[in-house]
Amino acid sequence: MASNAQNASLTVWNPSGVDRSARAAKKLKQIRTGAALQGAIGLILALVIYLFLSKIFGVIVCSIALLLTVLAFCAPIAVYTPIKGGLARLSTIVGTTISFVVLLALYCLFFVPFGLLFRRGRRNKLSLDFAAERSSYWIDRNASSEPSSGKKKNYEQQF
């Protein structure tokens, strides 16, 4: 077998199998590094809050940041990871709710009125109607002004 091929196959598979202990150690290192970074950011944020907004709230944020960092180093799998998972789920819920509100506003304030306006002005890029009098629905690529066709071939453009 050519050496390229053998090397290539080894990029997708380790014949000796997964070194579970090395993988576990790597995962722990990732958890701790991530937690340390988040802890540092949390402390900076706590300091800003303490100095400029609310001393009590600043202390609370600082305590949470320190607690999570300590947990990441002392009980990374048993305690920190489930807490982090819970926080991630909470942030997903918050993010989804915010997205919903923003996108609903965008849809109602932009797409609905303009969509209705366009269709009232007989502009609809979706050609939905049947045309019994036509012998063909094929669009001639060279002649048509439809958005997908008649475009100059410019391979470097994304449109």
Binding site: W13, P15, G115, F118, S127, Y137, N142, P147, F159
Partner: protein, 610 residues
């Protein structure tokens, strides 16, 4: 010059590398991540393809992405303008993904290449989606000149195209525009009959022979307006994909007298008749499109790609109609093949490179374009884990396996390079005796764990194809369906429709019952010596033993998981199922001697049904 082609973010992400226009490697991301139809950016496939091509840190000259993302985004937005005020649920689901990922393709490409240790090249190219499909069909084909037909769900705006291919140039002549799409029409019926969209379409095709076309005319009269040239429009009141998260709407339910079938519930006569009806409608449309392609291009050969080109029953009809002297279908006709086509479109269309074809040989290397694992590495794996094995010499490999197949053993075959595309072609296959009447139900229920109505496909020796099937040319990629020769058929008794589907399936239909579908058809792979000599030798040895140069070939996976890639995945699948033997390269493993298999939890819970 080395070009990397990429498809991503819809379904079946993949990567491909061309070196001076020659296909060096191609692979689907799902095979590495073990997520079926993985649509995420194909990091692993990119890394593999670059390694296979020996691309070093600054060795990549260009990257081609398989569609124009901003043009596609334009279509998405125009759809919402066209449907508002309805459509918010779809809008809410789609827009965040677009804003976060899909409009930032150059950034994703740069990240992936840096992760693979390769400097991103200056040039990024974005051929259109259907141009990528057309290029994947034409450029690797054997033909110097050909008509090219691409039919799928939708690209940017086009859903079907007819192109003219001449030498090194490919030009799209005609297109059909969204939302009128044969791919989406077929997917709507896939959804309605309880199969998974973008995954279960071939199950709908396999179900069709069990039914009657009772709805065909009604569909043609009321659901679509079909013109003589194969172009059509759909009555969108029946379809929900423009503005809802369903493929079909309430009027569709009323049309067929009830709601969609729920997944995993028993199939009824209604679903079988629907399957048959939509299959015939699809064939009518594709045949008309093919005739129109012949008319406007004048070429005597046809190339096809796009998801609908995987409908091999329709492909077989095109061939038998004699509209063209011959046809060639891209083995990776779905979006995975777009990666290959994008790279090809750039090499030829954008960069103007020539192409010479001899009208006989294609450039796909049998579709064996993925990783291959050396015997030495396999030995390390088996020794490390203590799995009992036996090394077969080159001389004993084929005869030994042939004898096992003749003894009605089921063998998992993992050898050579992995296939590119949805079909297993002897590199990652489960093989068995096609003569055995019980093999279809054994394999469906005990090995694939899938629906029992589904037929198996054969691989036969290329030189024997006409001995078994009514077809007079090779079929190397399992993309053509043809009848089993009449002299081999066992006539239907006429009472099949009164039977339970399981009873019907178990009735022998020919002297190779395991691969003969209920209508006496088969989806054929023929293998020659050139691209898979070992597989050819195996079937030849089986013929020497039994007089039959044909075996069952099904993909090496259980239902819901991607086809296996590595020897480790092959071993895992082997041990999870009731296969008798496993072949890894030159090594043979007997299930009876293997240590007991254990894993955390039930593996069936880890794999979502498709």
């Amino acid at each position: 010059m080395k070009i990397l082609g990429i498809s991503a973010f819809y379904h079946d992400s993949a990567a491909c590398v061309l070196d001076q226009g020659r296909i060096v490697a191609a692979a689907q991301e799902e095979r590495f991540t073990r997520i079926k139809h993985d649509h995420n950016f194909p990091l692993h496939a990119v890394r593999y393809c670059l390694a296979e091509a020996g691309v070093d840190a600054d060795g990549l000259d260009a990257v081609a992405f398989y569609d124009k993302p901003l043009l596609k985004f334009h279509r998405i937005l125009e759809t919402y303008f066209g449907m508002a005020p309805s459509g918010f649920r779809s809008f809410f689901q789609a827009l965040p993904v677009w804003m976060k990922k899909k409009i930032w393709i150059p950034v994703e490409i740069e990240k992936a290449l840096k992760a693979a240790g390769v400097e991103p090249p200056e040039k990024l190219y974005f051929p259109e989606h259907h141009e990528s499909h057309a290029a994947s069909a034409f450029y690797p084909s054997p033909y110097q000149n050909a008509a090219v037909l691409t039919v799928d769900g939708v690209g940017e705006w086009a859903t079907s195209t007819i192109s003219n291919g001449e030498g090194g140039r490919l030009e799209i002549l005609k297109e059909l525009g969204f939302p009128h799409s044969l791919g989406l029409l077929y997917s709507a019926f896939t959804y309605f009959t309880g199969f998974r969209v973008n995954s279960g379409e071939y199950k709908l095709m396999g179900l069709a022979p069990y039914g009657k076309p009772v709805y065909r005319d009604k569909i043609l009269d009321e659901m679509i307006d079909l013109k003589e040239d194969g172009s059509f429009r759909m009555k969108m009141k029946y379809f929900g994909y423009l503005d809802t998260l369903r493929m079909t709407s309430s009027p569709f339910d009323e049309f067929f007298g009830g709601p969609p079938r729920k997944a995993e519930t028993p199939l009824t006569r209604r679903e079988m008749d629907i399957a048959r009806s939509i299959q015939e409608v699809t064939e009518i449309i594709v045949l008309r499109m093919a005739r129109h392609a012949r008319t406007i291009t004048g070429h005597k050969h046809l190339c096809m790609a796009g998801g609908v080109a995987l409908n091999c029953v329709a492909n077989g009809k095109i061939l038998r109609e004699g509209i063209f002297d011959d046809i060639w279908i891209q083995p990776a006709s779905g979006d995975a093949g777009g990666a290959l086509g994008a790279a090809m479109a750039v090499w030829h269309n954008a960069l103007g490179n020539r192409r010479e074809a001899d009208d006989k040989n294609d450039a796909m290397s049998g579709a064996y374009l993925g990783p291959e694992f050396a015997d030495d590495d396999i030995a390390v794996y088996l020794e490390t884990h203590g799995y009992p094995h036996e090394k077969l010499s080159d001389e004993e490999w084929a005869p030994r396996l042939a004898q096992l197949i003749a003894d009605e053993k089921v063998i998992g075959l993992h050898q050579g390079r992995m296939e590119f595309g949805p079909r297993a072609l002897g590199g990652r296959s489960i093989v068995g005796d096609a003569r055995s009447p019980k093999m279809q139900s054994v394999m469906n229920l005990k090995i694939k764990y899938r629906e029992s109505f589904r037929p198996f496909a054969p691989t036969c020796l290329e030189e024997r194809i006409s001995d078994f099937f009514a077809i007079d040319r090779p079929s190397p990629y399992m993309l053509l369906v043809a009848p089993v020769n009449e002299e081999r058929q066992i006539a239907l008794r006429g009472d099949e429709e009164d039977l339970d589907i399981t009873e019907w399936v178990n009735r022998p239909r020919s002297d190779v019952p395991a691969i003969t579908h209920v209508d006496h058809s088969a989806r054929i792979q023929s293998v020659g010596k050139k691209y898979n000599p070992r597989y050819h030798a195996l079937i030849k040895a089986f013929e020497d033993l039994t007089g039959y140069g044909i075996v069952i070939n099904t993909s090496f996976n259980v239902r819901g998981e991607p086809i296996v890639c590595t020897p480790e995945e092959a071993y895992q699948c082997f041990m999870r199922t009731e296969m008798d033997f496993l072949v890894l390269g030159s090594y043979l493993l007997d299930k009876k001697t293997q240590p007991a298999w254990s894993e955390d939890g039930d593996w069936r819970d880890k794999i979502a049904l498709d």
